[in-house]
């Protein structure tokens, strides 16, 4: 239990007030001999948990985060290498093993130091840092656009700086010169007065034996040599020749393949399985009853899937068999009406007296918006390869929380977490989906029953019908405008809040605000979906502010601008997007421009969409995006994430709709859950503002603003206000105004 004791000391240090400030970021691997074989190759000196230095002067950054295309392996390695003054050409990256030593202590630390926009779903775990450190131990998550903001800021930079100081001390001692006379550059130590120089590797062993500095000095931005530049991403070369290994590509000797089908209606169970209907089919080895799902194990995946299709399975009734999408929307409306009648809302934000102002009368504007459930539809369907033997379990898969998965699989198999080893691979898309361990638990249970290694692959249909969905929602607004058209009161009521907490908040200076919600639970499983609650609330709030501008007879950009007088960073981002879009330049007939701005995960993003309507459907011609993430660690990576977030959000705005029929998800594959394709993909230009202040996230903030920017552009082009997503529901060539009947 040595490790446990050490952790307890660290936790106590934090609780005692601020003592954590250094030690935790640079815990030495020497304290945990079990770790060295996992992270260090022969001859490598393990400096601390984040860094090894090899005899050839190669630096390996060890990062406790999953690579799913967001470029985090590169960005985190850059942050470490910059502080270390390493030679970037000799820097490589390795993903940390899923052991408790690599739990996301930096994330907890970021939270403790005031990163209040840590997603709510993490708070119980992070609070557990004080209350029950066991839960914190199993946190190794990549999500919430947090990796650079927390691990980068509170672990990688500190680790690099500390290692650099230790190397300097070791060289200064050996050469008997003052530390202050030593310089470091590109992996070398230089002593100008004597002309001596040495490679880091020459002093690695002596430096690694030194005590770690309590407070290594971090560089000021004007000293950065790597941060703020855009070196090619380290994970790109294997992604152009087929060698990048994703979870689905793992192969083990003697491995069999499994296909699975869960009860279509959430909450239903397996009633009976006619195993004999498939047991004689070629390659079929076994049928496994998982309680709420059935799996077929075969010699090949196609054989398993074919057999599963022929398998006669009956499921029990869950009581949700008659629920349709309209029932769900009706339930939301009922919840809102009952909460209004019974005064049963939970207050999200109250400022001034919005109900009082609204009751006093004046120019009232009201609207209701709604959004459907959404699936993640990662390109790589859920899959996991598992082997269970001798009271141990090993898993190969792509996950956004390796340690959390280990804990959950251990729980399902009644094993100790230390007896479950997770080998994380590249993720073929995550977007929040790969934070849920359902498929890994299934694989482990099937492998235990099969007695051989098993690769479980979900069909696309299974992936779409058993996701953890972005919630459907209904949001109602009332606002009061004064004689100049300026809003005096803003009231917003919606259902089903998740997180982040501030998602429905607006940056505008409106004196009286009441934002409130009422829970209206359904049987559809909820999950984090790129930008989480921001993905819906930005559509609601940025559509409604646009409607206020229209009601006030004012230009939507300038209307927002006037309300952002006290928010200089918002204003700078809004102005930049408007200016680069040529906001005031006249457009051809039938074209419209729409603007939206939203802050999420510490990053402010404004987008201007230029759209037309063709055959009743919007066509996006161009998107201009301005982004302020505080400081862009890897500007091209930030641009890439804006492009990605925009396409993800635009896909949802145009097409995304998961609907419930008979209690189950109706859609199943890309023919009925369509994706934006290259021929509909707009030109996207991204402009970066380094606004200073704390680092913001990159992976998610590009998504929220695009749906309202599009809706506002369509209004500008056609006079039709779309209040319900997706656009595919509406024929914009018809004269009536979609959404009007809903309000």
């Amino acid at each position: 239990m040595a490790r446990w004791t050490r952790r307890a000391v660290i936790a106590t240090g934090v609780a005692a007030g601020g003592l954590l400030a250094v030690g935790v970021g640079i815990r030495r691997v020497a304290l945990s001999e079990s770790l060295a074989p996992l992270v260090a190759a022969d001859g490598e000196q393990v400096f601390h948990i984040s860094l090894t230095l090899a005899p050839d002067n190669g630096v390996t950054a060890i990062v406790p985060h999953a690579e799913m295309g967001q470029g985090v392996h590169t960005s985190l390695a850059m942050m470490l290498a910059d502080e270390l003054d390493a030679d970037w050409e000799k820097v490589s990256v390795r993903e940390a093993p899923a052991t408790r030593d690599y739990a996301n202590y930096a994330l907890a630390r970021g939270y403790l130091l005031g990163e209040r926009d840590v997603p709510g779903f993490l708070l119980p775990t992070v609070d557990g840092f004080f209350l029950a450190a066991t839960r914190f131990e199993a946190l190794q998550i990549t999500g919430g656009s947090l990796s650079v903001r927390t691990t980068g800021r509170y672990a990688m930079r500190i680790a690099g700086a500390a290692a650099r100081e230790m190397l300097v001390t070791a060289a200064a001692d050996a050469w008997a010169v003052p530390r202050a006379e030593l310089l470091t550059r590109r992996g070398e130590l230089l002593h100008a007065p004597s002309g001596r120089r040495a490679r880091y590797a020459d002093f690695a062993e002596r430096a690694a034996a030194l005590p770690e500095p309590p407070a290594p000095r971090l560089k000021a931005p004007d000293e950065f040599t790597l941060m703020g530049t855009s070196p090619p991403r380290l994970d790109v070369p294997p992604k152009v020749d087929g060698t990048a290994r994703f979870g689905i590509d793992v192969a083990l000797p003697g491995m069999r393949y499994a296909a699975v089908r869960a009860a279509p209606v959430f909450g239903a169970r397996v009633d009976s399985i006619a195993t004999e209907s498939v047991q004689d089919l070629p390659g079929v080895r076994r049928v496994v009853d998982l309680g709420d799902a059935v799996a077929v194990v075969a010699d090949g995946y196609w054989q398993a899937e074919q057999a599963l299709r022929q398998l006669d399975v009956r499921f029990t009734a869950s009581g949700n068999e008659s629920v349709d999408q309209d029932d769900i929307y009706r339930r939301f409306a009922d919840s809102l009406e009952r909460a209004a009648a019974d005064d049963a809302f939970t207050t999200d934000l109250r400022r001034g007296d919005a109900p009082g102002r609204l009751a006093a009368g004046g120019r009232l504007v009201s609207a209701e918006y709604r959004v459907p459930y959404l699936a993640h539809a990662t390109m790589e369907p859920m899959n996991c390869t598992a082997v269970v033997a001798d009271g141990r379990c090993e898993l190969w898969l792509g996950t956004q929380n390796p340690l959390g998965f280990a804990k959950d699989v251990a729980g399902a198999l009644d094993l100790d977490i230390d007896d479950v080893r997770v080998h994380n691979q590249y993720l073929g898309g995550g977007f929040g989906r790969r934070a849920f361990p359902d498929f890994a638990i299934q694989a482990a249970r099937i492998a235990r029953e099969a007695g051989t290694p098993v690769k479980l692959i979900w069909s696309r249909e299974e992936d779409m019908r058993h996701d953890h969905y972005r919630q459907a929602n209904v949001s109602r607004f009332r606002a009061l405008l004064d004689d100049t058209g300026r809003p005096q009161a803003w009231e917003n009521s919606y259902v089903d809040k998740h997180d982040p907490e501030e998602a429905p908040h607006i940056p505008y200076a409106i004196e009286n605000q009441l934002i409130r919600f009422v829970e209206s639970p359904t049987h559809v499983p909820w999950g984090f979906w790129r930008s989480v609650d921001h993905s819906l609330h930005a559509f609601f709030t940025e559509s409604f502010i646009d409607e206020l501008a229209v009601a006030a007879g004012q230009d939507p950009y300038r209307y927002r601008r006037a309300l952002l007088a006290g928010e200089p960073r918002f204003r700078a981002v809004l102005d930049l997007a408007a200016e680069r879009s040529g906001w005031d330049r006249p457009l051809p007939a039938g074209h419209g421009r729409g603007i939206a701005i939203h802050r999420s995960f510490g990053t402010i993003v404004a987008q201007v969409v230029e759209a037309t309507v063709e055959d009743g459907r919007p066509r996006v011609q161009r998107v201009v995006c301005a982004v302020d993430a505080g400081f862009a660690v890897h500007p091209d990576g930030l641009r890439a994430q804006m492009e990605s977030g925009i396409v993800y959000g635009l896909t949802a705005a145009l097409y995304g709709e998961i609907s419930i029929r008979g209690g189950a998800v109706r859609q199943g594959n890309f023919h009925d859950y369509p994706m934006l394709r290259i021929d509909e993909s707009p030109l996207i230009e991204t402009h970066i503002v380094d606004g200073g202040g704390p680092l913001g996230g990159a992976g998610e903030p590009g998504t929220p603003a695009i749906a309202p920017a599009l809706a506002n552009a369509v209004y500008a082009a056609t006079g039709i206000r779309v209040r319900e997503l997706p656009f595919a529901r509406h024929d914009l060539s018809r004269p009536e105004r979609p959404g009007r009947d809903i309000a």
């Binding site: 790109v236 087929g242 192969a251 090949g300 390109m379 073929g428 890309f670 394709r677």
Partner: protein, 159 residues
């Protein structure tokens, strides 16, 4: 038994002739660069060349590939030198998660074989069957154009 020629090598395989080519490549031949995405030819992640034509391996029975040349992403780099598209993909930093990119590259390679200088509309038409959830589409367009320029320059050098 099915006889299959993949990336210039001949294999005799004991598989059900109805098995989709995708699973034979991945499971029997360990060529995992070709990906499973949808199983119904909707996403393009499994795109390979069959006698130079791009096809969806997830709906191509292995029997239909007998006697024809199958080419996968693993064979796109000739003689250890990256295909101009692969180099362009690195130069333009195209991939994000990377899962769809084998299919994107194989579809783009087939396009350049028949149209060495495609414009954006032609690129869109050739690649609209390939979904990318990370939204790398505009970088894919840039990558194809860059590779086309490199090919043209290479031919001039050779001439």
């Amino acid at each position: 038994m099915v006889t299959l020629t993949v990336n210039g090598e001949s294999h005799v395989l004991d598989v059900d002739p109805r098995t989709p080519l995708l699973w034979v490549l991945r499971e029997q031949l360990a060529l995992t660069g070709t990906k499973f995405g949808c199983g119904i030819a909707q996403c393009g992640a499994c795109t390979v060349h069959l006698d130079g034509q791009p096809v969806r391996a997830c709906v191509t029975p292995v029997a239909a590939a007998e006697g024809r040349r199958v080419r996968t992403i693993e064979d796109l780099a000739a003689g250890g030198r990256l295909h101009p598209l692969q180099q362009a993909w690195i130069d333009e930093q195209v991939p994000q998660c990377g899962y769809c990119q084998s299919g994107q590259l194989m579809a783009a390679a087939a396009l350049l074989e028949t149209n060495p200088d495609p414009d954006d509309e032609e690129i869109d038409a050739a690649l609209r069957g390939n979904i990318c959830r990370c939204g790398t589409y505009q970088r894919i367009r840039r990558g194809v154009r860059r590779a086309a320029r490199a090919l043209a320059a290479g031919e001039q050098d050779d001439g």
